[in-house]
């Protein structure tokens, strides 16, 4: 079974803190994604990576950065957390190629107070 593991299910942070969300996949997938999920807005892509050290901005990258030093690990960084970043964050991975699907982690519910 493909497994995408996010380090925390729930996280509470203070405004201005630097926050790290970690994601690990065990299927040697080339692509990894970070989304945020908000009611009525669906999943919005923050960043994705198609190879180690490679990254591309998604639709809402402002206020976030990412790091991919190893193929299996993709980190999302909130440099200075703000209350409007309170959300559910989902990590996903997929293999490069036509018709391949993405596999998702359980999500991290982040609350910024």
């Amino acid at each position: 079974d493909v497994k995408v593991t996010q380090s925390s299910r729930y996280l509470v942070k203070r405004t201005g803190e630097k926050v790290f969300l970690e994601c690990v996949q065990d299927m040697d997938h080339e692509n990894m994604f970070w989304y945020r999920q908000d009611p009525g807005l669906g999943l919005r892509l923050i960043y994705f990576s198609y190879d180690v050290k490679m990254k591309e901005k998604g639709d809402i990258p402002e206020g976030y950065s990412v790091s991919r030093e190893k193929k299996e690990r993709f980190s999302l960084i909130l440099e200075s957390a703000s209350t409007n970043q309170t959300s559910m964050y989902l990590c996903a991975s997929s293999r490069t190629g036509w018709g391949t699907e993405a596999f998702f982690g359980q999500g991290t519910r982040l609350t910024v107070v």
Partner: protein, 113 residues
């Protein structure tokens, strides 16, 4: 830029009723299309996908979807729903030219027993 639009935010049905969820996408080239489902408290999982061939695609749990290229649509259907189909459903598209997986806003489906 690619985008996905889901027409209904909320749908309420009784058991045994038929379900149809609309999805339209915007992308100028060849696409892969997906429907994902998120049951309460669970991670997103794939229901079905289209990447080529027969435009009528069958997925898990009795779901099917029809790709109509001329209408840029990929509507999801199930002839007779069960209480266990209560979930949020997401349509997604990835274009042939890239790795970016874009989701719609989601439709929450509540099936009353």
């Amino acid at each position: 830029a690619q985008s996905v639009s889901q027409h209904n935010h909320h749908v309420i049905l009784s058991e045994a009723a038929s379900l149809e969820l609309g999805c339209n996408y915007s992308y100028g080239g060849t696409v892969n299309l997906f429907w994902y489902v998120q049951y309460p408290g669970q991670h997103l999982q794939l229901l079905l996908k289209y990447f080529s061939g027969d435009p009528l695609v069958k997925g898990i749990k009795g779901f099917e979807a029809e790709f109509i290229k001329s209408k840029f649509s990929f509507n999801l259907r199930k002839p007779s729903v069960q209480w266990s189909d209560t979930a949020e459903y997401f349509c997604a598209v990835i274009g042939a030219a890239g790795n970016k997986l874009t989701f719609g806003g989601g439709t929450r489906v509540l099936v009353k027993p």
